[in-house]
Each structure stands twice: as C-alpha cells, then as structure tokens.
Amino acid sequence: MKRILTKILTICALPLLLIACWQLGSMGHWWGSYIVPPPERVWSSWLQLAASGQLARHIGASLMRVMTGFAIAAALALPGGIWLGLHPAARRVCHSLLEFLRNVPPLALLPMLILWFGIGEASKIIIVVLATVFPIFLNTLDGMSHPDEQLLEMGRVYGLSSRAVFWHIRLPQALPAMYTGLRIGLGYSWRSLIGAEMIAATAGLGYLILDGEEMARPDIVVAGILTLGVLGIAADALMRAIGQRYLWTERKEHHE
C-alpha cells in the first residue's frame, strides 16, 4: 500500500506543483486571465464540454484519426524498416530520398495534400501518417541494421538458416528499437493533430483548440491542450503495458 502511494505521489507531484503555481499566479494576478486563464475556469469549461457531449465527439474524431494514421504508419514503416535493414545495398540506394523526406515537415505538404486528396478525412489522416511514419521507420531500420555479430555467429555455428536467423535472432533483437519507434510515433501522431485538423475540420481536439482561439476563449484552448496531453499519456501507458507484457527488455526492467 505504501509502495503504491509513493508511486502515485512520485507521478503526480510535479503536475500538482505546476497546477498549484498556476492557481497561485492566477489568484495573485501575476498575469491577465486572458493570457493564462485560471484553473477553475478551464476546469469549468472542460466540464461544460464534457456534459454537452462535445468533448466526447471531439475526442472520438481525434482518436479515430490518430489510430488510423498510426496503424497505417506502422503498417508501412515496420515492414519497410525491416526490409531495408536486411538489405544494406537497398538501404544505400534509398538513403538520400529518405533523408529528403524525413526533413520535410508534414505541414509543408499541406497545400499539396489538399490539392491531391481534398479537404476530407484522407488529408487529415495522411498528415498524421507523415508525422508518425519516420520515427517508427528509422528506429526499425536502426534496430535491424545493427545485429549482434556474436549472436549471428552463434547462429551460424548451429547451422541456422537465414529464415531461422531472422525469426530467432535478428527480429527479436530489433524489437526494442521498433517498440521505441512505435512509442515515439504514437506521441508524434497526437502532436500532429492540430496540423491535421487545420484542414476544414468540424470535429477533433485540434479543431476544438483552433476554434477556441478564433472565439477568443483561451480556457477552451487550454482545456483542449490538457485533454490532448492526458490522452497522449494514456496511449503511452497502454503501449508501455503492452511492452511490459511482451518485450524482453521491458520484462527485464519489470523484474528489477
């Protein structure tokens, strides 16, 4: 019990301290309520949004975009990273193109995406995919490109076929890097929502924030930001739980 309480306190201490400072600053009028709305106003706006069902609608729309974009990005990046990781020659051929694409911010492509895919869901999801695909891809590629030579040698000694080496040595060894990529990628998909929902959206947390800005309602903006952050934490917690259940490196940490 004491251990659980300590754990909760460790996790909540800093956010609670920040909220206390925020409250204190608002009460002491260190800043204008328009610049930083007081916590109680943000909380009351959040409750109103939740009670009216608007928040659930926005969360649902954003969640659908994030999950779809993340799934598509993972489906592209994992096999792509694995394949290039296993083929150094192809990796060298693709290097410059990948570096080029990696350095182009997804938002820079927004006008072209609207032109190609219109203002519907497709463009929004593509923005999420573009923001998410590279962390997953590059981590997968990195994990696959640096196998443990000693373990590969052990595999050779016991006559393991290329297929067996892949399934029993290379892939399991790369899984932690792939998992890190997925976690970073998931964070990036949430981050890309604002950009994605700038495209003629009528629902979504990004839309809620942008709408709050246009309506001069910083309390709604902050409520939207906090919701986005909390959902990001929840999604990451889910990923961590999956990792602790199935991943050998996380298992080790878990035991410690």
């Binding site: 000693q150 373990l151 040698e153 052990m154 595999g155 050779r156 000694v157 016991y158 006559g159 393991l160 076929s161 067996a164 029993h168 040595i169 399991p172 060894q173 899984l175 050998w248 298992r251 080790k252 035991h255």
Partner: protein
C-alpha cells in the same frame, strides 16, 4: 571421423592503417580423432584464429584444413555464453534444433544432468555468470557434436565454478565420444584437461606435450613436470628468430 590435419595454414588480417598482419603463419598440426586436445599459448598467438578456422567461421588465406571427409557435426563454445536474452534457458539450449535438427528431449536430459532443470523457464539475465556458461555448455553438448571447439570457455569464471565445469566437461568427454579442441592461456587448465597439449607461439605450433593420466583428473595434483615442459617450449620459441 578421422584425424584433423592442417598444412601450412595462414590467416592474415588487414589493420585499419592498411598494414597486413599474420594471425597464423604456415601452421601445420594434426588433431587426433577422439582426443581432448588443448591449445595453449599467450594472447595474440593465433589460438582463437585457429579455432575459428576449425569452426568454419573464417577461411584460411593459405594452406589446407582436412577433416578427412566432410566437416563433422561441430559445436562451438565461446568465452561468453552468447545466450539469446529473449529466450528461456530451455529454448536457448535447443536453438540448434532450428539448424541441425534433432530432439528437444535430449536437451532436457542434459539440462537435468547439468543441474539446470529448475532453471528451464528462467531467462539468461536471471542466471549467474557460471550458470549462463553452464547453459552454453549444455547447448553445445546437447547438439551431440563429433567435434567440440571451446574458446577459453571458463576464462571469465571464478576458480570454484571453473573447477566444477572442468569436472563436468571431463565426465562428459568420458561418456560421449567426441574430439575436443579446447583453447586456453591457463597452463593449469591445459595440463588438467588436455591429453594432447599443443603449444602455440606467434601463429605457429611450437610443440606438443602429452598427458596420459586417466580421467577424471583431480585438480590438486601438481603437474609441474608438464607445465615445465610447456614453459620450456615457450622459452625456446622466444629465442627462435622469426
């Protein structure tokens, strides 16, 4: 399986500065079929290179390596256990099944015989260094090799664990017919384990010492005469100009 013969075996490596160095230089020697051969020598004398050539992990640049037919079923044990951290001890020990084929039951029997039965479902990070190396030994033996190559397998272990594993290896050698090539720089280990002790020096085989003492050999018996012979060979080689 017949004797393993090496004739004028050379292996060169190119250093980052482009300089070519010989790890083995015209090395000729033979390893008797069914013998427990220990190769002893200082660091950098070419012992590991010789073992890697025998294991087929590298090819010689010059010379011939003759197994008297096709390469026998070979097991290799390295200085570190090289266990796969994502697999249980049991799955690690059976890894050869995916390459050489064979029965997992056999691995189970070996795990029992080597006192690892209760660690079947443990992961390598949950084992001590000695136990991990023992699991590696079980992996190597359970694939039933005809040729067992061991590269300083007990060098990183403490005295007591090393002695215990040496005992287990000798007992297994008596039970299971195979040729063992064991590399070490430890003279005590060499004279305790080896029947044929080959002394290597600067990439060549400098001499051979034979130990006829039957197995199992107690550890405390001083084999000073043998050690003196080996040291004598090393001293002679030191004085021989290349």
């Amino acid at each position: 399986m017949s004797d393993i013969r090496m004739e004028d075996l050379s292996r060169f490596y190119t250093l980052p500065d482009g300089k070519r160095v010989a790890a083995l230089k015209g090395c000729s020697l033979s390893i008797r079929d069914g013998s427990f051969t220990v190769i002893v020598g200082k660091s950098g004398c070419g012992k590991t290179t010789l073992l890697r050539l025998l294991a087929g992990l590298e090819r010689p640049d010059e010379g011939t390596l003759d197994f008297g037919g096709s390469r026998p079923r070979t097991g290799v044990m390295f200085q570190t256990p090289r266990l796969l951290p994502w697999l249980t001890v049991e799955d690690n020990v059976c890894i050869w099944r995916h390459g050489m084929g064979g029965s997992a039951e056999l691995a189970g029997q070996y795990l029992k015989a080597f006192g690892l039965d209760s660690f079947r479902k443990a992961y390598p990070d949950q084992l001590s260094g000695g136990m991990a190396q023992r699991a590696a030994l079980v992996r190597t033996l359970s694939c039933q090799p005809r040729l067992l190559l061991m590269d300083e397998p007990f060098a990183a272990l403490d005295y007591f664990t090393r002695e215990k594993l040496q005992d287990e290896l000798m007992a297994q050698y008596v039970r299971q017919p195979m040729t063992i090539v064991f590399i070490t720089h430890d003279l005590d280990e060499a004279v305790r384990l080896g029947q044929d002790i080959l002394v290597m020096h600067k990439g060549c085989c400098g001499g051979r010492v034979t130990n006829e003492e039957p197995y199992p050999r107690p550890s405390v018996v001083g084999r000073m005469a043998l050690k003196t012979d080996i040291l004598h060979i090393l001293e002679e080689e030191k004085e021989t100009p290349l």
